[in-house]
Amino acid sequence: MDAFTITLWIVRITFVILLYLFFAALLRVLWRDLRSTVATSGRSLGRLVVVASPEGRPPAGSSIPLDAITSLGRDVNNSITVEDSFVSADHAVLTFRGRAWYLEDRGSTNGTYVNGQRVAGVVPLGYGDEVQLGQVRLRLERVPA
């Protein structure tokens, strides 16, 4: 074996090694990212952003972090108290089951609307959907990581 063949072999193998070094560096970034995601997840499942609230409680523009079970209504014992003349005391419940959100109307007088449609019983709710109780409109959003 002459010197050229050996040098060329070394360069060749160096290229493959560099390819894998690049991949190792990628994996390191991915692993760190994954760890930071795991550390911050479980903080909140989602949030409600108040789109419109004519009577000001909750104030429009505010965002409310959600628990797995969140009750909405005029009664002060609800998770989120909605002070609106057209909202019932025990109006609706938002639940997170499995991996999805569901909304249930609790027999309210004026009904609960999702994207403009009146809902009956339990309906699935997607991120970006808009919920209306009385004159209050709320948007379900994912909490940015």
Binding site: R12, L19, Y20, V51, N110, G128, G134, R142
Partner: protein, 466 residues
């Protein structure tokens, strides 16, 4: 310049991980370039540094643009795309330069310089999309317009392209030639994301029962049937099996992601099998592809030629490979030896010269794209963005899987490109649009999604609650 940026409200932000990854990529490209040049020259040399130099320069320029505009985008996608492009440049420099050519005045461009030109254009498109796209309304609101544009493209191919026996892929309007199905896949994903984000709760509902499987209401099955029809039409009109397979797979996967209903997958597979049997009976092109896949040695000199030589190439490569530039002439030595080596068989060519280690590294790079894309989807602010990111990821990853599988005789060979590695402007540009949009979606400072339009209706007057 910094002062001007500050006045415009732009705060530069370092992208440390991207810097390191790009630097590593650059070093690897130059090492590969030296290996190839020395092999070809028969003595140790680093070769002509113009092509890798320009390429690495462009990538760092884009990196600088991302830093200066202060974007909080994904830092992995650009280096991974860059690495796939590097492998492409190494392979194109190694193949006979006459496989593609363009002469501008007295300037003659061979395969490698042309690919560099396409890569530069593609990276520019990627960078512009990543930086400029700050909201998604133009994609979200006009989904049916996009669908119409897509179908229009398909019809245009049918009307304008010459009737040949092979695949009708290219579309020539004046001096511009391109493959519309590459662009079509991006449009398809945009449309599907918009459609599914709007209708996913309806599609996930069950009402019709068909024996043991329960199905959604019949009207909502129509889009699925339509999509199946479009895929069949692509096979019949364009004779493009690869695009049809890619579109239908992406569609089914996205439908499953949106609804989490396995019944769709079962139904889709059944429709696919039905369609495949019909096409096998009716179209000789399909029959040839399947027969050759099952037994390439039945016709080793004609239809089985490509697959047999691809398999030999992987065999010769072994674990470490023959080294760049040292593969046998049968794979890419003289033009015409293995048709479509620079488009359809790049994986076999790289598998021979970089060996199993190199071939596995390529698969790993696509796996990283998949991880990043799905992570962007998981972090997306709403359903449309999540589905869009998923679909864009699928388009790249499924396409890579189909052609790598075809090269390895795992699935019937279809003439689609290996994203970012195969030669060709249409493919590079379309995939650059995909990655550019993925980067834009990954930006954490992007505008929040708009509220659903139907929610603007008020429901008044109300009765006072009891």
């Amino acid at each position: 310049m910094m002062a001007a940026l500050y006045r415009a409200g732009i705060r530069p932000r370092l992208r440390y991980q991207e810097t390191i990854l790009l630097a590593l990529m650059g070093v690897a490209l130059f090492a590969g370039w030296a290996s190839l040049a020395s092999q070809q020259a028969g003595r140790m040399t680093i070769g002509d540094p113009a092509i890798p130099g320009i390429y690495v320069g462009i990538l760092f320029a884009i990196h600088l643009a991302f830093v200066l505009t202060g974007r909080r985008m994904d830092q992995v996608l650009l280096p991974v795309t860059g690495m796939l492009g590097s492998l492409s440049l190494l392979l194109m420099a190694r193949l006979p330069q006459g496989l593609a050519g363009l002469s501008v005045g007295s300037l003659e461009l061979g395969l490698a310089p042309l690919q560099l030109l396409w890569l530069s254009l593609a990276l520019a498109v990627l960078a512009v999309l990543a930086v400029a796209v700050r909201n998604d309304n133009w994609l979200r609101e006009y989904k049916y317009t996009w669908a119409a544009v897509g179908i229009g493209l398909l019809l245009l191919v049918f009307v304008l392209s010459p009737d040949t026996s092979g695949p009708r892929l290219s579309l020539q309007i004046g001096p511009i030639a391109g493959q519309p199905s590459e662009l079509l896949k991006v449009i398809l994903v945009v449309f599907l994301a918009g459609y599914l984000a709007e209708n996913r709760t309806l599609l996930a509902r069950t009402s019709t029962r068909l024996g043991p499987i329960s199905l959604p209401p019949v009207p909502y099955l129509l889009p699925m049937v339509a999509m199946w029809g479009v895929a069949l039409a692509i096979v019949i009109i364009q004779r493009d099996l690869g695009a049809a397979l890619l579109f239908f797979t992406v569609f089914l996967t996205l439908l499953y992601v949106a609804t989490r209903r396995f019944a769709y997958v079962v139904l889709g597979m059944a429709m696919f099998l039905g369609g495949a049997v019909i096409l096998y009976q009716l179209f000789p092109l399909v029959r040839v592809r399947v027969d050759v896949w099952l037994d390439p040695w039945s016709d080793p000199l004609d239809t089985g030629f490509q697959i047999i030589h691809a398999l030999y190439a992987f065999g010769r490569g072994g674990i470490l490979g023959t080294g760049l530039g040292a593969g046998l002439p049968a794979v890419g030595g003289t033009p015409g030896d293995l048709p479509a080596i620079h488009t359809d068989f790049v994986y076999a060519a790289l598998g021979e010269e970089l060996g199993m280690l190199g071939a596995l590294a390529i698969v790993a790079l696509y796996a990283v794209i998949a991880e990043r894309g799905l992570r962007i989807a998981a972090r997306a602010a709403d359903d449309f963005r999540a589905l869009l990111a998923t679909g864009l990821t699928l388009v790249i990853v499924i396409q890579a899987a189909l052609i790598i599988g075809g090269n390895l005789k795992l699935v019937p060979l279809t003439g689609i490109t290996l994203p970012f590695i195969s030669y060709g402007g249409s493919s590079l540009l379309a995939n650059a649009i995909v990655v550019g949009l993925m980067l834009a979606l990954s930006d954490r400072g992007v505008e929040p999604p708009p509220p659903p339009s139907s929610a603007r209706r008020f429901h008044l007057p109300f009765r006072s609650p009891a």
